[in-house]
C-alpha cells in the first residue's frame, strides 16, 4: 500500500515535470499540444475510490495550471476526466470483472483495451480543456480539429510510454 502510494507520488511528479518542462515547449504546427500528464489518472488502481479520484484529478490539474499560467482550465478538464473514468472502466470491464492485483495498464489489459480506454478519456479531457480555453462555441469546428489532433498526439505518446517506460 505504502509502496503503491509512493510510486504514484513519484509518477505524479515525473509526469507533471515532463509535461511542463518538455511537452509544453513542443508545439506541433503552432497550436497542437500533447498533454500526457493525464496518464496519471489513467494508471490509478482499479480500486481507487471515486472521491479520491476526483480530488487527485483536481490536484493534478491545478498543479499543471500553476506552471502554465492557465488557472482552473486543466483542473476543470482533469476533474471531468476523473469523473468519467469509473463509467468507462465499468463499460469496458471484462465479463468476470477486473482481476485483483492488476492495474489499468497495457501490460495487464492488452493493447486494444488500453487504447480504447485511453482514447475515450483523453478525448474527454482535451475536449473540455480546449473549449474552456476558447470559451465559446462559435468556432466549434476549428476547436474540434485542435481537440482531435492534440488527442491523437497525446494518445500516441501515452501508448508509446507504455512500451518504453511501464514495461512491467
Amino acid at each position: 500500500m505504502i509502496k503503491l502510494l509512493g510510486r504514484n507520488i513519484i509518477r505524479f511528479v515525473v509526469l507533471v515535470l515532463a509535461q511542463i518542462l518538455v511537452l509544453n515547449n513542443i508545439q506541433v504546427s503552432g497550436y497542437i499540444v500533447p498533454y500526457i500528464y493525464v496518464l496519471f489518472i489513467l494508471l490509478l488502481p482499479f480500486e481507487t475510490p471515486g472521491w479520491l479520484l476526483l480530488l487527485t484529478g483536481f490536484a493534478l490539474g491545478i498543479t499543471v495550471d500553476l506552471f502554465t499560467q492557465t488557472p482552473g482550465m486543466h483542473a476543470a478538464a482533469t476533474v471531468f476526466m476523473a469523473f468519467l473514468r469509473p463509467s468507462v472502466l465499468e463499460m469496458s470491464a471484462p465479463r468476470d470483472g477486473y482481476e485483483a492485483g492488476t492495474f489499468p495498464r497495457l501490460y495487464y489489459m492488452g493493447f486494444q483495451w488500453f487504447l480504447r480506454y485511453t482514447v475515450i478519456l483523453v478525448l474527454a479531457h482535451h475536449f473540455v480543456l480546449f473549449y474552456i480555453e476558447v470559451f465559446r462555441f462559435s468556432e466549434f469546428f476549428s476547436t474540434l480539429l485542435r481537440v482531435l489532433l492534440s488527442s491523437l498526439f497525446s494518445v500516441i505518446l501515452i501508448m508509446l510510454s507504455q512500451y518504453f517506460i511501464y514495461r512491467k
Binding site: 471515486g50 472521491w51 476526483l54 480530488l55 484529478g57 483536481f58 490539474g61 491545478i62 495550471d65 492557465t70 488557472p71 482552473g72 482550465m73 483542473a75 476543470a76 476533474v79 471531468f80 476523473a82 469523473f83 469509473p86 474552456i132 470559451f135 465559446r136
Partner: protein, 275 residues
C-alpha cells in the same frame, strides 16, 4: 435534512464532481481576463433578459411610490399655476403690487382612514399641524371636492367629507353661475343635494356643479359633481340630486388647500358686517 444528507452521501461522487468543476470554472473565470470578459458578457445578457422581464413587475410594485411622487409634482405645479393665474389677473388690472401673490397653496396628503356608511362620516389624513394643515381648510382630490378639515393634531387631521350631514358647501351650476347650498341627506355615499336654486333656472341632467368660491375655503370652480335629477320644492326652488364626482370608496391621494388670503377676506367681511 437527514434524507438530504443521505442523498448527498449516496451520490457523493457526482456532487464532489460538481463542486470541483464549479471551483475550477470559478478559478478560470476569476483569473483569466479573456474568459472573465466572456463570462461577464454572458451574465450581462442573462441579467438584461431578467431585468427586462421583471422590470414590468417591479414597475407595478412601485406604483405606490410613483403615485406619491406624481402627487408631489402635481402639488408643485398647482402652486405655480395659482401664482401664474394671480399674476395674469393682477397684470390685466392695474395693481400696484409688483410681486404676484398666490392665493392658494396645496399640501399633498394621503387618506389613511375613511368611513362611508355612517350619517356623520369622517376621513383621516396622514398630515397634520406639522405639515401646515389647520382646521377649515379645503380638501380636494384630483377628481373634485372631498371635504373640509375639521380637527388637526401634530401628524394627523380629520376631514368632514361631503357625505357628512354637517357638511355645507356653497356650489354653483357651472353653465349659468346660479349658486346654492350643497348638503348631504344621509342617503348613499355618491349622492348629495343642492338646494336654493331658483325655479326659473334652466337645468339639465348632467350639468356640472362646481364650487362657488364664496366661502373663503374652496377656490372657485372645483368640480363637485353632476346633476342627476331635480324636482321643485315649495314652489320657488329646485332640490337637485347631485352625483358626487369623488368616489369616497376609492379615495387615496388628496390635496389640502390653504387659502393664504383667508384672514384678510374674513377680517374685511367682519368689519363690513359690523357696520
Amino acid at each position: 435534512m437527514r434524507n438530504l444528507l443521505r442523498l448527498i452521501i449516496r451520490y457523493h461522487f457526482f456532487f464532489l464532481f460538481l463542486l470541483l468543476e464549479a471551483i475550477s470554472v470559478l478559478i478560470v473565470v476569476q483569473n483569466n481576463s479573456f474568459q472573465r470578459a466572456r463570462f461577464i458578457g454572458v451574465t450581462r445578457s442573462v441579467e438584461g433578459f431578467f431585468l427586462e422581464t421583471f422590470g414590468g413587475i417591479r414597475e407595478y410594485l412601485i406604483l405606490r411610490q410613483t403615485n406619491r411622487d406624481l402627487q408631489m409634482e402635481n402639488t408643485l405645479l398647482r402652486n405655480q399655476l395659482d401664482g401664474m393665474n394671480r399674476k395674469l389677473q393682477t397684470d390685466s388690472g392695474h395693481s400696484s403690487d409688483s410681486v404676484p401673490r398666490r392665493q392658494f397653496s396645496y399640501i399633498p396628503a394621503s387618506v389613511i382612514n375613511a368611513s362611508t356608511n355612517k350619517q356623520f362620516n369622517f376621513i383621516t389624513l396622514d398630515k397634520g399641524r406639522h405639515h401646515g394643515i389647520e382646521p377649515e381648510m379645503a380638501v380636494i382630490s384630483p377628481r373634485g371636492v372631498v371635504g373640509v378639515v375639521y380637527a388637526v393634531s401634530g401628524d394627523f387631521s380629520t376631514v368632514i367629507p361631503m357625505i357628512n350631514r354637517d357638511f355645507r358647501l356653497s356650489a354653483k351650476i357651472k353653465r349659468n353661475g346660479y349658486f346654492g347650498s350643497l348638503s348631504w341627506m344621509g342617503a348613499g355615499y355618491n349622492m348629495a343635494i343642492l338646494e336654493e336654486i331658483p325655479y326659473h333656472v334652466d337645468l339639465h341632467p348632467g350639468d356640472t356643479i362646481v364650487t362657488s368660491g364664496y366661502s373663503a375655503i374652496f377656490p372657485e370652480g372645483i368640480l363637485v359633481g353632476t346633476v342627476h335629477d331635480f324636482e321643485a320644492v315649495e314652489g320657488n326652488f329646485y332640490s337637485i340630486t347631485v352625483d358626487i364626482a369623488v368616489d369616497y370608496k376609492k379615495l387615496s391621494h388628496v390635496y389640502v388647500i390653504r387659502n393664504l388670503l383667508r384672514e384678510e377676506q374674513l377680517e374685511l367681511e367682519r368689519i363690513t358686517g359690523n357696520d
